[in-house]
């Protein structure tokens, strides 16, 4: 069949129209909705959270659930989505054997351990952790998740402020060290009262709102992160000036996550990142004010010296006249 020029032009024109007309897929791409993979993850997680949540416990979606066991396995969807693993699927760590219910027997042995994903950092931190009494005294009772709740832990930048980071991180320590019940799960020794063992420090409770336990109870990390060598009371920091000085370690520890406050530093204050949240005696003074005091003091002392010399000279001249 002979194709006329008109038919060819029309075919090309129609082809161009079909190519440029926005379809459903193109519309989705241009407005950046969650990818289908994200959507699938959310949908899959929603199935788990249908049971493993407060709502699931109060209104079980199935009649054959072991509610007493479920009560210890609740997750907050809101907190999970904000956590460091919020974009992960439950089964990514818990395995496929948990997808169906009833769950496959012994599924918990298939749960991934943290170092399977957190490879080099996990190995390094675990080697540090093995030096601590937590591991030495309780090698089988402590793992990463003993302190780091993988369902709720948030990064410093997500938390957005030192105060919130302090509350989160100190909560890890105080959950056991401030609870007779939890402490008693690990040892039969009486739990030391936190205020009592910190009484060498002025106003310990105010300190605990302003700085993390690990800021004193870990050595400085050469790599710049936070060491996992948790120090007991004998080796923990007790020198006030480690924080309360111009070279405050707060800059490289608690406040390393938070940007330097340019305006505060331009106004002459030391450690602007710290001062943006907290005034710290000895660490957040203003160098311009300090210099002004030196200059004024110097001028005054010079004036006093000159005045005194003039008095001496005047007195001797008067004596000569007499």
């Amino acid at each position: 069949m002979k194709i006329t020029k008109t038919a060819a032009a029309a075919a090309i024109f129609i082809a161009i129209l079909m190519w440029s007309e926005p379809g459903r897929g193109a519309e989705e791409a241009s407005s950046s909705p969650p990818s289908s993979a994200d959507q699938q993850t959310k949908e899959a997680n929603a199935k788990c959270l249908a049971c493993h949540s407060e709502a699931g416990l109060n209104n079980p979606p199935r009649a054959d659930m072991h509610l007493e066991g479920l009560a210890n396995l609740l997750i907050s969807a809101e907190r999970f989505e904000k956590s460091v693993h919020g974009e992960e699927a439950c089964k990514d760590c818990h395995g496929d054997s948990y997808v169906q219910y009833p769950h496959v027997a012994n599924s918990r042995y298939q749960i991934k351990m943290c170092p399977e994903c957190h490879k080099s950092a996990g190995r390094r931190k675990f080697n540090e952790f093995k030096q601590t009494l937590h591991y030495i005294n309780h090698p089988h009772n402590f793992s990463c998740v003993s302190c780091h709740n993988p369902h709720t832990l948030q990064r410093a930048k997500q938390l957005g402020s030192a105060k919130r980071l302090i509350a989160q991180d100190n909560g890890m320590c105080r959950d056991c060290h401030d609870s007779d019940q939890r402490y008693g799960q690990f040892t039969t020794r009486p739990r030391p009262d936190l205020v009592e063992v910190h009484k060498w420090q002025p106003n310990p409770e105010l300190h605990w709102k302003s700085v993390r336990c690990i800021d004193c109870h870990t050595p400085p990390s050469e790599r710049g992160g936070t060491s996992h060598v948790i120090l007991g009371k004998d080796k923990a920091e007790r020198d006030c000036v480690v924080c309360h000085s111009a070279t405050s370690s707060l800059r490289t520890r608690l406040y390393r996550y938070f940007a330097e406050q340019g305006q505060i530093e331009q106004a002459g204050f030391l450690n602007g990142a710290v001062l943006s949240e907290a005034y710290v005696v000895g660490a957040t003074r203003n160098i311009w004010l300090d210099r002004a005091t030196w200059v004024i003091t110097g001028l005054l002392l010079a004036g006093i010296v000159v005045h005194g010399l003039l008095r001496i000279v005047a007195s001797r001249l008067q004596k000569r006249r007499k």
Partner: protein, 230 residues
């Protein structure tokens, strides 16, 4: 011929010397806290903290003692400048310190029982005891109980404005101490004013009692406790 009058009751002298000890302690410990650094400092941080807290509370008590004593004894009147011609009298006193004293001129405003202070002293002491010291005490107590301070103030930690006022006030008091100690040497002898602060008796040569204050119309005071020796 010398003139000898009793001007300072025991309670004032006791208050003054306790103040000296406390303020010196507070300045030394305060500098150690402000300029704290690892290694050698003026005083170890933890010791400086305790010194500052204890001396600070001591200063509060001493100030209350002064405040009440002033009211009970009537001494508070010494700190109130007489308004008529006040600025001119201040100028006369200032000129004395800057010029007249080098020419052997007598003190323009001799010390009397009614007027222990010259006009400049009145102004400075009033400012010190009724403005700077209350500021010092209020800000210092806020440091001691920091939860009293607002969490945020002017966009920063609520303690920062408190710290600023505390530091500036402390610095002004430090400057006062330098000037006060130096001007304490401007009596008839280098130590006569310090002796007065110990014994309560003011003694000076009679020819030093010819005031330039006649320029300002201020009459020299003379009281029943005025004792003249020939």
């Amino acid at each position: 011929m010398s003139r000898r009058i009793f001007i300072l009751a025991l309670w004032i002298r006791v208050w003054h010397w306790i103040n000296v000890l406390l303020i010196l302690c507070l300045i030394a410990s305060g500098l150690s806290l402000h300029y704290a650094r690892p290694g050698a400092g003026i005083i170890r941080f933890s010791l400086a903290r305790d010194m500052h807290n204890i001396a600070g509370i001591g200063l509060c008590i001493d100030y209350a003692y002064f405040f009440i004593g002033n009211i009970v004894s009537g001494n508070w009147w010494q700190y109130i400048p007489r308004p008529h011609g006040y600025m001119q009298r201040c100028w006369v006193q200032f000129r004395y310190y800057m010029w007249d004293m080098f020419h052997g001129a007598p003190h323009p405003f001799p010390t009397t029982v009614a007027d222990n202070f010259n006009p400049l002293q009145q102004l400075i002491y009033w400012g010190l005891m009724y403005v700077l010291m209350p500021l010092m005490i209020v800000t210092g107590l806020t440091y001691l109980y920091p939860t009293v301070a607002p969490d945020r103030w002017f966009g920063v930690d609520g303690l920062l404005p408190i710290a600023f006022v505390h530091f500036v006030t402390a610095f002004l008091i430090f400057l006062f101490v330098l000037v006060h100690v130096y001007l304490g040497t401007t009596g008839d002898t280098l130590t006569s004013k310090i002796s007065t602060m110990i014994t309560g008796w003011h003694e000076e040569e009679a020819d030093a009692c010819e005031p330039l204050a006649q320029e300002s119309g201020l009459a020299a005071g003379a009281t029943a406790t005025d004792v003249s020796k020939s």
